[in-house]
Symmetry: none
Subunit: 405 residues, 2 copies
Amino acid sequence: MIMDGMGDRPLKELGGKTPLEVANTPNMDKMAKEGINGIMDSIKPGIIPGSDTAHLSILGYNPYEVYTGRGPFEAAGVGVDVLPGDIAFRCNFSSANDEGIVTDRRAGRIKKGTKELAEKINGMTIEGFEDIEVIFKESTGHRAVLVLRGEGLSGKVSDADPKIEGKPPKQIKALDETPESQKTADILNKLVLKTYNILKNHPINVERESNGKSPANIIIPRGAGEVPYVESLNEKYNIKSVCIAETGLILGIGKLAGMTVIEPEGATGGVDTDLDSITKTILENLKKDYNFFLINIDGADEAGHDGNLQEKLEFLEKVDSVIGEIMKVPNIYYILTADHSTPISVMNHSGDPVPIVINGPEVKVDDIEEFNERSAAKGGLCRIRGSDLMNILMDLMNNSEKFGA
Amino acid sequence: MIMDGMGDRPLKELGGKTPLEVANTPNMDKMAKEGINGIMDSIKPGIIPGSDTAHLSILGYNPYEVYTGRGPFEAAGVGVDVLPGDIAFRCNFSSANDEGIVTDRRAGRIKKGTKELAEKINGMTIEGFEDIEVIFKESTGHRAVLVLRGEGLSGKVSDADPKIEGKPPKQIKALDETPESQKTADILNKLVLKTYNILKNHPINVERESNGKSPANIIIPRGAGEVPYVESLNEKYNIKSVCIAETGLILGIGKLAGMTVIEPEGATGGVDTDLDSITKTILENLKKDYNFFLINIDGADEAGHDGNLQEKLEFLEKVDSVIGEIMKVPNIYYILTADHSTPISVMNHSGDPVPIVINGPEVKVDDIEEFNERSAAKGGLCRIRGSDLMNILMDLMNNSEKFGA
């Protein structure tokens, strides 16, 4: 159970305590009291993890080898069946005018109609590069993903996003000297122009404009990355795994790792998420024949990014109730931790270690009474790394092989 | 002092305590009280070590590089002067009939006469491969080791052991596509057949059969491994080292590491071993000019494999007396630890960290009062790896060089 961004730092406004030290979290504390505790560096001490790199590391992958950028994981997360070697991008639906100027980077924060628009882009051909397959799919809101598939492509290309309105999309450039990067940049520059021609007169955009809304008439790609080969988690550890998560990024990691992925109904990835629905989804799947669950709940991270202490405290207490419900299921190894800290004072991720508790049969219960950053550091696990966690769990589950005689 | 398999997990039958927490071990506790304590992952957290890979790691070798299989270490352990590049095997003396069927995999658990039989196999030639040297030596009981020495050989070959009686030895196959592996398989298949012709009419076997015993008339190799290059421990750390151990596997590691190896008289590797003799051997050698001792006592591991709690408790208490005797020798850095846990509940090795204490001049004595898995985790060493230990010890001994200026 990975509570995204749950870790924090001592806050002046809490008298030098952390949100986890102050929030009323009786179920987390029970788990700590009946388990073995420690602190964990998802990647290495002091390295500030992304949620993606942290989850990869915690699942036993080396993020320095596997992580090629956010595009591939986002693309997998929205349901594109990406293949190793594909080049994947995050995209915005944006608004442009006939002079090629971006007038609204988020196309008036469009909510509806992107599916129909995406279908027009998906499968398009690029003149001179007819052998390259273009896969395009809408995500939430104005977001979308683009995948280029074919020979001689590269992920080393720059972004088209002009970052501010009133400018044309940036010319995409090769970031190294290889012909593959040049070819990919050429394809993308043609693609961006062509998306305008395909979308500008689409009935959805005609209607939006007649209603005074910004049209979603151009596609702006960024965050290029070559889809990496990710060894199947199930084969690597001989498990049957499921990933229950709220965000495309984490679902994408689960997908690329070959896990079954489930996005609970009503999951928003924010503090307003439907925690009852998430709890129900977890409990239902605990009855099925999976033997490894990766659960990611995202709200504490959002509150941290917003620097909203009150929301973070409240969300921690709400999540505590979810944990209380799940803990009623017996004969399970529970692990509660975070992928990284998102301190209120930083309003972004930090490289602090996060607290971790492992609870279940035969663990060496220590004398820790509460679940928080400071008490966990005195626990029986001492300080571990994210990359140790699957090995420790598989050993407890008697699910790994001896190395040697 | 490595007490093989000493670590354990909390046991229901001990009210959630571990054998080390329950056993009466005043000398270990004294060592903990006057030393600095911690927990140690012999290889990495959660990785289940073999005794061989754990010892390699603790001696500062990378087992993922050096460990090529059990054969080379067993062969070195029974006293064959193996060389890097040799291909070594563990073997059984077995019984076969004229139809080539294995009738007893352990040759009636033969105890005597294997030395004479082995002398007939040692130095044999294989038709068509006269340049390959065959080295063969008996071990304890029906066990033996085989070493092939020469150009163009490989350790990537399958086992001949049919695993059950009533079948012929398995055809040995190359496990990769190289000509070296094919050549090695061809040699072994001829060798297995020829051992039957050499041994079947040997007087020892004629006598065994006339007494109704299974003859030891065929050699069945398994566990192939290419003998690795192992840097001399003495040169690596500028020490004069001795390995006092009970089992061929650990003695073999000492041998390959270039240590002086001593098998104390009466050492069985079991709970019935002669601990007085082991103590005497250690004390005698402490008077000599060695400055590094690796001591391995094996009984706790045997009790763990057998799931025999009472025997494990009793053996820990007996070993405690050995430690009490040795600790009387002053001005020594003592390290007490295990190579891995062999929990009573698992009846095999586990990936749990093991307790470790370092006792001697200038160590930062912590407030730990007892030697066991749980208390050690609160000690001043925190959590270290096996590969850290030699460096820590050499530093305390003022026996290592500064890295940098």
